[in-house]
Symmetry: C2
């Protein structure tokens, strides 16, 4: 099946061709809102064990495709596997989020390994090959990594933080040390993404969850420029590689971001201003988004109105329907079904 | 002194007149980064006791003026005194933030008192009168309240929440109940702000700290429209009342917000895109902001660059120099002094 030539609507949109019915997937679609995911998760040991066990990672990547026939699967993994392969300690504590050994002084930064041990990430590549083999030919497969800025916020602080203050302060106070972390992440992200393409990914998404906390000068230096280098580095080896950026919260900095980075698409969060996006972003690249994940929890008339807003705002152009951020664990499956039906029956 | 006619540069900017040296104050300038504040706070009992003790509240409001000769004093208080006067239980637990009895069902909302007991807020008005009496005539006095949306996020959840999910979900699921909370806050905010003007406030700022989490449809309904009603209601009694909005994180929704609400100025956070603000916001109202509070913690060359960015971006138009959010407790006083000197020696 994987060798059958087939049109993938998701890739069509990334290649410049609007689809009458927007292709559809959900960030974090392989996740805790699904009972079949929770069942696999319960027997996988730790969260990282699940990421590093190819048949289980492949299984949970495929579950939402079987249930909802989404237009894209995303490989089940985590943005922190790259720092893990760079030799950093990474633990996921239940209900607590990730914990790393903080990289919070220039002396510690100087000890950071320049090259990841990609053998540690071989299970991710194997999971991609397994998913590729099982996936219907019209469904795209997405590989991903975290953007250097967002990954660095966890590496510096050693954990998630409400305002990313530790990384922001290091960037202000010790910009050379902070730049070393970013540079190492840029180079290793390029290699990691290329290996995901080689393992069968059709497109790549780069998650910059915390892009929205930086002032314009810092955003340009720590988000947009590293992203430009990653896009350039990947395409130097794989010309035409399809790349989606997700600088969450970038707002009115998005038009400059797409110009600078050369991405094929951006994912937009639910707070984006429609006119700005249409006139200055969607006019030049595809967009992906942007339903409020809380509307999906709420359901009912509020969900219908929120879906219709996304379609009214963006479906006249190149749109991949998605949420503005990951689906939350408490989301009822019936609401996802309602969303899928509504998006696919509203014809353009 | 209070009766001497004097030009207040802060009010000049709000009235349409750019100042060569932008007037300057800091959100949360009466606060824990000052040893003289910590000294008063230590003998005040609870945080609310400090808010409700006129001579102490006046004293801490005046401290930053004495130290830095800022162009505006803001009355020391909290946005949650209004729900308190509406009969809600409000406690501030040390290191924990505010705690209220959650107003999280339509049945509970139905019991919400429609009218605040403004006798409870008499200490705030008395503190305003005391500050007015002591303040040099060229220094403006700012009264404030929270915007209905932001105050409602605390009333519904009973506490601060990372994503304001409880209020967002009530707004989606039970919009009529949520609208009742908003309507009561609108009416009582108008009365509260009018009383602050009567007690000596020269201008009003309305803090909508969590405006940035809403999609455009919800932002219009729960942030912009209530703010329009407040501006209209205040000006119906005090024509020409000067009002600053601070819909933090509104980003590219700001141009629509200023048109709809009729505010004289908006405070902008440090992530705002300069071209958008200049072309579509500052061209029509004054702006206030927008130094990253973390640059003020960092100090040194990073602080100088961040200050210069604010001035380069916005000082050609009507600007009140400020931070993009409140000053943080760990900020060195020497950095504040450096900022004040730099802003006041860069002539326009």
């Amino acid at each position: 099946m994987a060798n059958t030539p087939a049109v993938k609507p998701f890739l069509e949109v990334l290649s410049g061709h609007r689809q009458a019915i927007p292709p559809l997937w959900m960030m974090r679609q392989a996740g805790r809102y699904l009972p079949e995911y929770r069942e696999v998760r319960a027997r996988a040991g730790s969260f990282l064990d699940l990421c590093y066990t190819p048949d289980l990672a492949a299984e949970v990547s495929l579950q939402p495709i079987r249930r909802f026939a989404f237009d894209a699967a995303i490989i089940f993994s985590d943005i922190l596997v790259l720092p893990h392969a760079l030799g950093r300690s990474v633990r996921f504590e239940v209900g607590e989020g990730p914990r790393l050994d903080p990289l919070d002084t220039p002396d510690k930064v100087a000890t950071l390994a320049p090259h990841a041990d990609f053998k540690m990430l071989e299970p991710v590549f194997e999971a991609l090959r397994l998913v590729r083999r099982e996936l219907p030919p019209e469904i795209a497969l997405i590989g991903f990594c975290g953007a250097p800025w967002t990954v660095a916020t966890y590496m510096v602080a050693g954990r998630g933080t409400p305002d990313q203050a530790p990384a922001r302060l290091m960037a202000y106070r010790q910009p050379d040390a902070f730049a070393r972390i970013i540079d190492i992440l840029v180079e290793n992200s390029i290699a990691y993404l290329l290996a995901q393409l080689a393992a069968g990914a059709d497109a790549l998404q780069i998650f910059d969850t915390w892009a929205g906390v930086l002032p314009p000068r810092e955003f340009a230096r720590w988000c947009a420029e590293p992203m430009r280098r990653i896009v350039e580095g990947v395409r130097a080896k794989v010309p035409g590689a399809r790349i989606i950026g997700f600088p969450r919260g970038a707002g009115a900095l998005l038009p400059g971001y797409i110009t600078h980075t050369g991405v094929d698409a951006v994912s937009i969060d639910w707070t984006a201003a429609p006119a700005l996006i249409r006139d200055h972003v969607q006019s030049r690249v595809a967009i992906q988004g942007n339903l409020d994940p809380l509307a999906l929890i709420a359901g009912g008339a509020a969900l219908d109105a929120a879906i219709d807003d996304v379609l009214a705002n963006f479906a006249d152009g190149r749109l991949i329907f998605n949420l503005g951020h990951g689906i939350q664990p408490e989301t009822p499956i019936a609401h996802v079904e309602r969303m899928v039906a509504r998006v696919r029956t509203k014809r353009g």
